[in-house]
């Protein structure tokens, strides 16, 4: 199975690798997946007073598609409002990266990581976590 050019590009030059201060109230952290499953994604967002995501960082343990999915997610998140970010769908990632069926779970994990980061940010700031309508589990 060959990787798409976009997967290779994100894999070779991953965008926004790194760590934000997870103790900051402006920062939301989502850590999803499990080492036993071969995929762990950590996605972080920094949010300003206008609810706009000003920065996003990731680190991922996983295959090339998992790394590319999270790298792409951080690119998309920057500049979006929380509400806009909530509406990112895993199928958008599948389409953008041309992921084959066996790799769809990588995009699902990226969507889960986005939602987990947002909810971490909301809980830290006294807001209710948003329940996702979709359930992947």
């Amino acid at each position: 199975m060959a990787y798409s050019d976009k997967v290779i590009d994100h894999y070779t030059n991953p965008r926004n690798v790194g760590t934000l201060d997870k103790s900051s109230t402006k920062v939301g952290t989502g850590l999803v997946g499990a080492p036993e499953c071969g995929d762990v994604m950590r996605l972080q967002i920094e949010v300003n007073e206008e609810n706009v995501i000003t920065d996003a960082k990731f680190k991922t343990f996983g295959c090339g598609s998992a790394i590319a999915s999270s790298s792409l997610a951080t690119e998309w998140l920057k500049g979006k409002t929380i509400d806009e970010a909530m509406s990112i769908d895993n199928m958008d990632i599948v389409e953008e990266l041309a992921l084959p069926p066996v790799k769809i779970h990588c995009s699902v994990l990226a969507e889960d990581a986005i939602k987990a980061a947002i909810n971490d940010y909301r809980t830290k700031n006294g807001l209710e976590p948003i329940e996702s309508e979709k359930s992947h589990h």
């Binding site: 997946g33 499990a34 036993e36 071969g38 680190k59 991922t60 343990f61 295959c63 994990l109 889960d112």
Partner: protein, 403 residues
């Protein structure tokens, strides 16, 4: 040095040009059917088969009459296990095997379970070897066959074959070994090792794909297997079908070359493998899988903790290796062989198998060391697990959100 470099010689090997040269006349000039007894074309083919059979037999210390040509090791495994089960069903229905066998053995055993066979799947110790006491205890008065591989395809460990065959014979059962990874790499002798049936194939030893053999002992004891294919009664009635003349010529040549060159080649390969392994072990949190004393000379299986194998292979540019990570398969289950050693799933996901071969050079090994180190470091920079490990977080205590 030509890129990419090939370090997946346990999957298959390139054909030796000397093998190809030997095969070429048997496609267009000496194309006869070796079963055609009445003309020169048939005789030429038969003569080639005889020579090939002799070379194949010599490699494993057998008599040429004990070699049954097949399409490969998978067919030979099927023929041995199903053939013994059918032939000896009046004696019993119990077969002993091991959890780290190749799928060609395990799935054949599973198939026979549906037909009334009782199968014992022995576990392995942490180093990948079976426990001889466990083997001893597994026998029943219905045991007809023990099937344990010679060298493992994923980690390269060599099972204590002589001891296993001795225990098997003490209990009056037959001993079959899949020696696909061992033949041509280390000395294998069916008499010294006490082997009753043995499977191997050409393409793992610089021969062509599509040809293999089953050794079936003719004396002390005389072993028989029930044919699994009906037809012209070729190969002493055990495997019908027109013989693959060019394939067998190539297989014979490959066996001859292996027999003559194996001793020096094993020394060269194990030195290269040890160089690769000791360099990569200098990377923090890297672990060699399987017993290192009893191991094929050309294999190293190493887990690089906190990076995922498939992602790692993608970063190991211009190198062909394989991984115990099953991220590409639909099941998402990592290698059952590594799990059988007691490796945690995350270490199994992090493993890379390096398989060196006859055409591997020191320059390529140096390149592989360099590329692997770079790739592991690159992926650890991306790995949240590596960061957590460095912060002193115990990953086994983290509540993971399983997916």
């Amino acid at each position: 040095m030509n890129l990419p470099i090939y370090l997946d010689n346990n999957a298959t090997t390139p054909m030796d040009p000397r093998v190809l040269e030997a095969m070429i006349p048997y496609f267009t000039q000496k194309f006869g059917n070796s079963a055609s007894r009445n003309h020169a074309f048939g005789w030429a083919a038969e003569e080639a088969i005889d020579y090939g059979r002799e070379q194949v037999a010599k490699l494993i210390g057998a008599n040429e009459k004990e070699i049954i040509f097949t399409s490969g090791a998978t067919e030979a495994d099927n023929l041995a296990i199903k053939g013994v089960f059918e032939m000896y069903k009046d004696k019993g229905n119990h077969i002993i095997t091991c959890v780290t066998e190749h799928k060609a053995v395990l799935d054949t055993c599973k198939h026979l379970e549906k037909q009334g066979a009782s199968i014992t799947y022995l576990p392995v110790k942490e180093d990948g070897l079976i426990d001889l006491e466990e083997l001893e205890k597994a026998f029943t008065d219905k045991t007809i066959l023990v099937t344990i591989m010679y060298g493992n395809n994923e980690i390269g460990v060599i099972q204590p074959i002589k001891e296993i065959s001795a225990i098997t014979h003490k209990h009056g059962a037959l001993f079959f070994t899949d020696a696909t990874q061992a033949c041509g790499k280390i000395p294998v002798d069916v008499n010294a090792d006490g082997i009753d049936l043995l499977a191997f194939s050409a393409h793992k030893m610089y021969g062509p794909k599509g040809v293999g053999a089953l050794y079936v002992r003719r004396k002390n004891p005389r072993v028989k297997v029930t044919a699994q294919m009906d037809g012209g009664g070729h190969e002493r009635g055990m495997r019908s079908g027109t013989l693959n003349v060019p394939g067998i010529v190539g297989f014979g040549k490959a066996c001859e070359l292996a027999r003559l060159e194996m001793a020096d080649e094993a020394v060269r390969l194990s030195a290269l493998r040890d160089k690769l392994e000791s360099s990569l072990k200098t990377l923090e949190e890297s672990y060699v899988n399987g017993n290192v004393e009893n191991r094929l000379p050309h294999v190293a299986n190493i887990s690089f903790k906190y990076v995922e194998g498939e992602g790692l292979m993608m970063a190991m540019k211009d190198m062909a290796v394989s991984s115990g990570s099953a991220c590409t398969s639909a099941s998402l289950e990592p290698s059952y062989v590594l799990k059988a050693l007691g490796l945690s799933d995350d270490l199994a996901h992090s493993s890379i198998r390096f398989g060196l071969g006859r055409f591997t050079t020191e320059e390529e090994v140096d390149f592989a060391i360099e590329q692997t180190k770079k790739a592991v470091n690159h992926l650890r920079d991306l790995s949240p697990l590596w960061e957590m490990f460095k912060e002193g977080i115990d990953l086994s205590k983290v509540e993971w959100v399983e997916h």
